[in-house]
Amino acid sequence: MEMQPIKFYQTGTFTVGNRLLGEDQRAVQANMQRTNSLNSGHRACQGCGEALGARYAIDAAMRASKNQVIAANATGCLEVFSTPYPETSWQIPWIHSLFGNTAAVAAGIAAAMKVKGRTDVRVIAQGGDGGTTDIGFGCLSGMFERNDDVLYICYDNEGYMNTGVQRSSATPPAARTATTMAVGDHPGNAFGQGKNLPQIAMAHNIPYVATASVAYLRDLEYKVTKAMSVRGARYIHIFVPCPLGWGAASQDTIKLARLVVESGLFPLFEAEHGEVTGVYKIRKPVPVEEYLKPQRRFAHLFGKQPATETIARLQAGADRNIRKFALLAEAVAHE
């Protein structure tokens, strides 16, 4: 998924833009005329990954659809920090739904646009992992099943953050939250629970499913653009670190979003009609510790007696992803 047509040796394809590239070869985010769909003045915490991910995704969608986007937004951090009445940070037509029915609201808007013959208007539903994997899951599954012409974007910060960092079904094993305290024989969130929503979405055989991370902007924009080129139900799951809920430094947001991919814990892939069609290869592999250590929600793994067994289980999960998605294909070729 290398998107840059010319190979540029100084910074490769990894920076947002570059003075030596033409405007069309840079990321949407490099453009002086980008939409800034989510504008300044929003009340997200310092270094919020979700605010970043939302602007990345919606700006790319706006460019791909010639600025004809309507977004429905589930209750959650994104809605709370962007639109405390009477102010809003959104610079697009935007509607706040209930916590659990965003997919249904968006499906309704899509139906209305169809009736009005406005095929140029594209509909996006967005929410956090709570509104997507837990509370809004039924509506979302229905939207997939009916193949409604909606792109659903989940910003996954692995918990209910604005209500006080409670566990969701996207919280990773061993992570400490307000409801999975780091106490007892198995501190933190339990192993073997939770949902892998991208794979559930794939099981619906919808036209397009992808995962993305705010550290891989070019890849994220490519996937949103690709999704906007397709009709029917589409799903993108974006990994967005939460400095507050994870106990991480605000400047480490992108670093964590990069390490989660490079450790193999969060594979970047895309799938069409239930089949994986592309994976983003890991460039500089790292052990899971490098990702876990900067976060206080995993601090109980690295105390005086490191929880080596737990860390090994997390590493095993990462290794399974690496095998399953062939995230290290180049290394295999060398063997």
Binding site: F8, Y9, R19, A30, S40, C48, L52, E87, T253, R258
Partner: protein, 541 residues
């Protein structure tokens, strides 16, 4: 009040919410000092000229380069490029081939005929430069740029100094040297060859010079006492290399022994090979690790069949052989004689044991300080006698072309200030852009482009240039490997990664600006700047 039920406020934009008030520290754009620039003895702004070369604007790159050093084509061949050892990219994959890009720019300038601009105004002051070596020419060039009249007195028949009479042709073709010297003379510097200054004070008074820069170099070969038979042929390296520039080439014979471990010894041995010697043996009393000669040159010499006898001293020279004594390192790492002797066949012995300075012109100058045969200068490059400055091999410093060029530049700036009754104050140095300031993840792997070498057969028999240049495509590739340490190269990362849209992009060449009304001080821009050009500073309350 025409509002719906339960609505009391007008809707508005979140721009009314100035989140900048949350901030406890703020990001600040900075320019840090790249390690290559920090290392360069000639004070080149390497990152600065590579920046222009990256966009293919070679003329701007060249013009930026020559502000500090008028000899890029020469430097690109003979400089030992310690900048590349300092290069941060070396930690990532391999150092940027700075030297090869410099040569490309220098050659490009010669090919396209780019010239130096004449000074905008003449100062009316007249400066005497003694010695037309790299240091003197560099000073003359910088003094001309500052508008001073310059006359160069050179004892030898041509300009160039050690660049002509010390460095062999296979490293520096004379056409390149001549062209870069001529460009300085075209600015109006007057060269008087075959003009040896025997008394500097008299000369300054006679022609009413306002100041003088001395850079006579070190040309007198050091001797060592070696018992030699009547028929022994013992020469000194400086004379051998100098004679190479004349009509009558030195006669060295089929088997040549060179005594010494510096670059001059290597140059003579490689020259002997090219003159047809079957054997060229360097005798050096210590080990390879201790050898002062440049590693690349040692390597190239060995490839060409030059042999080196380590840990050996010469005891005696005869008509067709010499006697060497083997040495052994003692506990402190110093070589000590072992009493074990060996005989080597040799038609001639060349001594390359270092050079001394001819300080004759300074006779009768008061207030000078001479230590170990070199002239002491203050940090302004001025000798103890006001108005007389000195640099290059005749002052205490490492002896190489790059250092000499740096001396010339520094002296010129101080002479200029001194002539104006002021003291030159160099601009304050930025903080060093060390590797830990970078975010190297953003740089793609790209190994160095190696310059092609001349075929080994031709290297042994001809004086053709050994190291070839890069062409445009791979010079551009090499320039673009620069990480731009500590200096913004407009990658748009800060503009892209701010969760609060608090970075304003100002357009091509204008860089960026923080919008402190909304910057919350999260520091992501600092962490994700590839080149370390942003710093976090605490807010003062």
């Amino acid at each position: 009040m025409n509002k719906p039920f339960a609505i009391t406020l007008d809707v508005g934009s979140s721009l009314a919410n100035r989140t900048g008030s949350w901030r406890t520290s703020r990001p600040v754009y900075v320019d840090r000092l790249p390690p290559c620039n920090h290392q360069c003895p000639a004070g080149e702004d390497i990152q600065g000229w590579l920046f222009h070369a990256e966009s293919g604007d070679y003329e701007s790159a060249w013009r930026h380069l020559v502000e500090q050093n008028p000899f890029p084509a020469i430097m690109g061949r003979v400089c030992y490029h310690s900048c590349e050892s300092a290069c941060n990219r070396g930690t990532l994959d391999e150092a940027v081939g700075i030297n090869s890009v410099e040569r490309f720019l220098g050659d490009e300038a010669l090919e396209r005929g780019w010239k130096f601009a004449a000074p905008a105004r003449e100062s009316g002051k007249h400066v005497l430069v003694v010695g037309a070596g790299p240091s003197g020419l560099s000073a003359a060039y910088q003094l001309r740029r500052l508008g001073h009249r310059v006359t160069i007195h050179e004892a030898g028949p041509m300009a160039g100094g050690m660049m002509r009479f010390g460095i062999p042709k296979y490293r520096l073709p004379r056409a390149v040297l001549d062209a870069e010297v001529q460009r300085i003379l075209d600015m109006g510097a007057v060269l008087k060859p075959n003009t040896k200054v025997t008394n500097i004070l008299e000369e300054m008074q006679r022609a009413r010079f306002d100041a003088a820069f001395l850079a006579v170099g070190a040309h007198i070969a050091k001797r060592a006492y070696i018992p030699a038979g009547d028929s022994a042929r013992v020469l000194d390296a400086v004379a051998v290399l100098r004679d190479m520039e004349g009509e009558a080439k030195p006669l060295l014979g089929r088997r040549v022994v060179v005594y010494g471990g510096g670059n001059t010894a290597i140059d003579v041995a490689r020259t002997a090979k090219r003159l047809g010697a079957e054997e060229a043996i360097i005798v050096y009393r210590r080990t390879r690790e201790k050898m002062p000669a440049n590693d690349t040159e040692v390597e190239e010499a060995l490839q060409e069949g030059v042999m080196i006898k380590w840990l050996s001293t010469i005891k005696q020279a005869g008509g067709s052989s010499i006697t060497v004594e083997k040495m052994a390192l003692d506990g402190k790492g110093f070589p000590q004689p072992t009493g074990e002797f060996e005989t080597l066949d040799a038609d001639s012995l060349v001594l390359a044991l270092g050079q001394d300075v001819d300080l004759g012109l300074l006779n009768g100058v008061p207030d000078l300080q001479l230590i170990d045969g070199v002239v002491q200068v203050d940090p302004q490059m001025m000798t103890g006698h006001a108005g007389i400055f000195a640099g290059g091999d005749m002052v205490p410093a490492e002896r190489n072309v790059t250092v000499a060029i740096g001396h010339g530049k520094k002296a010129a700036r101080n002479i200029d200030a001194w002539l104006n009754g002021a003291r030159y104050a160099p601009p304050p140095q930025h903080e060093l852009a060390s590797f830990d300031k970078l975010n190297p993840w953003y740089y793609a792997d790209a190994p160095k482009t190696v310059r092609p070498l001349l075929d080994i057969a031709r290297r042994k028999s001809t004086f053709d240039e050994v190291v070839q240049g890069l062409d445009e495509t791979n010079a551009l590739f090499e320039a673009r490997r620069c990480l731009s340490c500590g200096n913004c190269f407009e990658c748009d990362n800060c503009y892209g990664v701010c969760p609060d849209n608090a970075v304003t992009k100002l357009g091509p060449g204008e860089r960026y600006q923080f919008n402190l009304d909304y910057c919350k001080g999260c520091g992501i821009c600092v962490a994700e700047c590839p080149c370390g050009a942003i710093r976090m500073e605490p807010e003062t309350i």
